[in-house]
Symmetry: C2
Amino acid sequence: MDREAARDLALDAAEELFYSRGIQAVGMDDIRGLSGVSLKRLYQLFATKELLVEAYLERRDVSWRRRLARHVEAFEDPGERILAVFDWLGLWFGEPAFRGCAWINSYGELGATSATIAAQARKHKLAFRRYLRELTAAAGLPEPLADQLLLLAEGAMVTAGIFATPAPAAQARAAAVQLLAAAGRARPAVPAE
Amino acid sequence: MDREAARDLALDAAEELFYSRGIQAVGMDDIRGLSGVSLKRLYQLFATKELLVEAYLERRDVSWRRRLARHVEAFEDPGERILAVFDWLGLWFGEPAFRGCAWINSYGELGATSATIAAQARKHKLAFRRYLRELTAAAGLPEPLADQLLLLAEGAMVTAGIFATPAPAAQARAAAVQLLAAAGRARPAVPAE
DNA sequence: TCGCGGAGAGAACCGGCGTTCCCTAGGGTA
DNA sequence: TACCCTAGGGAACGCCGGTTCTCTCCGCGA
């Protein structure tokens, strides 16, 4: 097993365990047990647990945003793309392994203690906000609307996690429809010509 | 120092430390150091750390909702009361000690491990949702609107915590205004007579 | 066949923390 | 003054988990 393969196995196990149980509840030995990568190798790949956590959040950030983008960009219409974000959240919330947002959870757990984890959470949420701003800009809608959509999405993630139901995605979608309509009335996306 | 006073001191210290640093980052000895209540007494009052955490969340739930209600119920108009919720969030977010929502943070930290903490978070959020539903019902607005307002509020708490800015409260308030207007158009709160 | 270098398993080390225990001091009482 | 009883401080205990170390084994080259 070469270095790359071991790294992937370790990160797979880290993602599975850290996400489902929380970071502090998982020991390096648990990672070793699930991944089959020996402790020695683990520490060659990630000098400390904190670095492993960082790599886990980094990799998940990339894959999370890619999964979202794939779903959203199947649509052509800019307005539909915005709503597709909430539809995708609903799909995500419905997955059996769903346990809330990894970054919100990590921030709650270690944001006060670890500056790097707080920074990772900020980075991820900034990237998500930037994406929403791109989507609203493409639809000719103002930036403040994107920030409101961000609040709906974050609220849906939290509520879906704590209440363990995917319903908040549909609620957020409905609210987004209202906000889009209101913004459309103020500054129509497609001028009447 | 009698039993009641010691209990209050211990809970004051617990709230201060657990909220600012996270639960697992605080040891019983830290509680003792800040409260001045000896370990022996602490364990007479709370047989385990978990019971202390539970008592902390319980007490904070009561005081958090009382603070909110005090601010909201200074207004008479049902519509104003709803918006007052978001104004109060802005005041809260602006406090120097603000570090996000204690229940969202606790859930992220221990929700997967401790069933009682997950239940506390659910209980608190259910109570908040019930309050929002009461406010919208009093304004003659439909229940789904309350659930959407809940998403805005939760999203604002998370975003204000991670980005360390009170701005999300105003963004959520603006979105709430739009949603209220839309709901008012559909089913006017004050019929035209 | 004989070393040798690297890798893995798991024990060992060490610090932290929840919980318990011991020792002392102080105050009330005969 | 002598004796208890209580409370508090803080050391002690046991466990856990991050990190390191050691021992063994395997494959490869001379």
